[in-house]
Subunit: 415 residues, 2 copies
């Protein structure tokens, strides 16, 4: 694709975009270009309605009866089934619960508890999203002598996955660089060495086509608040391949994961399937928002989403490199679209200040210490003109040196 | 207090009730007597407004900036400080996070990971709320040989707490009977034997005065959705006595519990204090509802709450026993107010059917298998006339045999 030379050319791309109508589902400020959906997806009208209905009608009026009447009790599985389509999994193999961190802990603890003697190593990547590293370090601390945590540079992964390795834990799309693993290849490599693969899909789900079943991935977790637009701190999800479900304990044995929670038995018996990974009572307001937010994905072809994601990312890279060339921005993300997720990162010594100046101009991206500018391109609502306008603003910020006064005093929470 | 002989006498009690104005804070259907606030507290106007503002203004408009601008990032500690007053703890020692089950797991795993050799026993009570038993059984399964779980009948607790015991885990007010432990006495007994005490306050907080600091309780967890009225599946809380905080790991090491989450370091370093027990990203919508729901407690004297709770419970027992005497209901809860929390349970062979018939008449209590009728008396909004009307309806149900056709096919989710 030739680089569009004008805003009008971008408008033409938007007119030809088969996904353009989806933008209407979102509550978006026309004065803002929001390129931070990889951190916190925007509100949809459906999510707003669902929360309101849940608060006012279900909690406010129907109260305790809503657990049955509005099937609150079934939300973790129902939402899991909706997300399953987006991650290429059978509907019954995905559950929505807790946070990504807690879900990773549950699956990690469950899996490592039944790892064979001498197979206690967990391999991950240095620079992986911190919570993945921390949860695994925490498992090592809780199970001294049984779990050995081992984080290596990306190019050392093949060597690190050996006969001692029980589990490989990787983030499919890297939070900083957007570098994307070949899930099938890495999973196959792990399997060939007798290890299992657990994928963190937080920066993939909703933006990148996924095929958990086809790649034979063993386990996965992911986030509800980025490209799924489920709201701040939305409940997360987990996946367990069906043939593994019966052998795994729950990680955290809570009453909602019991085979018969309302029998109030003294003894724990895990529910069949992924339902055993329900631990405590599900947070219904967060679930309601996520349920509403998933409506926009109904009937959407993830291949079309990917096509637009690639086109938006390519456009951003091309425009930055052609229009801002003299300002020293370096592409951090892979140049090859096939190796990249749905955000694009650049480095610049004044990165923090540039992001602050962009926000002041109504272009919301985010900053990652020490020098990374990160822009999320969400195909369901990001337009080609948004990319044009963002680069316009970036060029103005750079031309006027607006980023030079930035400091690190208050960094945003953006993941 | 003599038993009021009429509805008018109950109205007089309501007029004299110093807490009566608090009822205005709640969204309540005038046609319903809601005696299930010990399962799911009702919506308050403040919680409704807070959720709406959080969705529409903070998420919808301010988006990612809200983590700083509206201090989403500080909600777990801010809400912890609000709950601290209700549980008799220093503000800095309580954190809101996750579910009760997950919090119990975190504290249990953290504490048991540093238990001395030969001190791996966890003692609890048979018939305790199931999730407490299940989480502890799960810890035993995850740490074979290191953790030994031991549940005994209540009258066997003293014998079970011995030199092998690391931790005693009890629910302060029993979910079924409302029987209340003397927290100071049991904690002191555990300490005298070198064990620590972890209290589940789910059925206490918001209805019963608590003094975690004064009783020297070591650890506690509790629920946000019962008497705190935080909404369905509201985030829960945890307490760690300040002198224990530095020695305990986080249980689940997540990025939000890191000393510097936004430094994105590869290595986990726990935050100072209870903040290390933050694991994943907090669920903001649930936090917002809980924040709003706590407004009604501002300035409320928990002694006055307790006085009214006792009076309501005594009234219910007296009216049931005097007016429904011939129908064979048996008091399950302790008769002595000092040994009872804020709900009252009776048993009856037709318990399930009776509760269903009561609900059909607009009186919402709940049922606990196999034969327990449970009525929660929430002093912030339950009136003396509500108790009168509930017993009126109960008498009618019993007189007309309406409860006999009930079956167990669909039990409510009520804890």
């Amino acid at each position: 694709m030739p680089v569009p030379a004008s805003r009008e050319a971008c408008e033409a791309l938007d007119r030809a975009d088969p996904l353009s109508a989806l933008r209407e589902a979102f509550v978006l400020d026309p004065a803002t270009v929001y390129l931070d959906g990889n951190s916190l997806g925007p509100l949809t009208h459906a999510a707003r309605r669902r929360v309101q209905e849940t608060v006012e009608r279900q909690w406010g009026q129907d109260l305790i009866r809503s657990w049955n009447q509005h099937d609150w009790i079934g939300l973790p599985e129902r939402l899991g089934a909706r997300i399953a389509r987006l991650v290429g999994a059978p509907a019954a193999d995905v559950l929505v619960a807790d946070s990504t961190s807690v879900n990773l802990f549950k699956l990690g603890a469950a899996f490592l508890a039944c790892a064979r003697a001498g197979r206690g190593r967990v391999v991950s990547e240095l620079g992986n999203f911190p919570t993945d590293l921390y949860v695994l370090q925490g498992l090592e601390a809780l199970f001294p002598g049984r779990v050995e945590f081992c984080a290596v540079p990306r190019d050392g992964l093949e060597d690190a996955i050996d006969e001692r390795t029980a589990l490989v834990v990787l983030t499919h799309v890297h939070y900083r660089s957007a570098r994307m693993y070949d899930m099938a290849a890495v999973t196959g490599y792990a399997h060939a060495r007798g290890a299992a693969a657990l994928w963190d899909l937080s920066h993939s789900v909703g933006a990148v086509p996924l095929d958990l079943a086809g790649t034979r991935a063993d386990l996965a977790v992911g986030c509800g608040y980025k490209y799924l637009n489920g709201g701040p701190g939305a409940p997360a999800f987990l996946y367990v391949r069906s043939d593994l479900q019966a052998a795994l304990g729950p990680g955290i044995a809570g009453w909602m994961g019991h085979e018969a929670p309302f029998a109030f038995d003294d003894d724990y018996r895990p529910a069949v399937g992924v339902s055993r990974f329900r631990a405590g009572t599900p947070g219904i307001l967060g679930m309601a928002a996520l349920d509403g937010s998933l409506d926009v994905f109904d009937g959407v072809d993830m291949t079309a989403v990917r096509d637009k994601s690639v086109a938006l990312c390519e456009l951003l890279i091309a425009l930055v490199e052609s229009r801002c060339a003299r300002h020293g921005l370096q592409l951090v993300s892979p140049r090859a679209a096939a190796e990249r997720g749905s955000h694009v990162s650049f480095s610049h010594p004044d990165g923090y200040g540039i992001i602050q100046a962009l926000i002041a101009r109504g272009v919301v991206g985010d900053f990652r210490t020490p020098d990374v500018l990160r822009f999320g391109l969400a195909p369901l609502y990001t337009r080609y003109v948004d990319v044009w306008d963002a680069v316009d603003a970036l060029l103005a910020v750079l031309d006027h040196g607006e980023g030079r006064s930035g400091d690190y005093a208050r960094m945003q929470l953006v993941t």
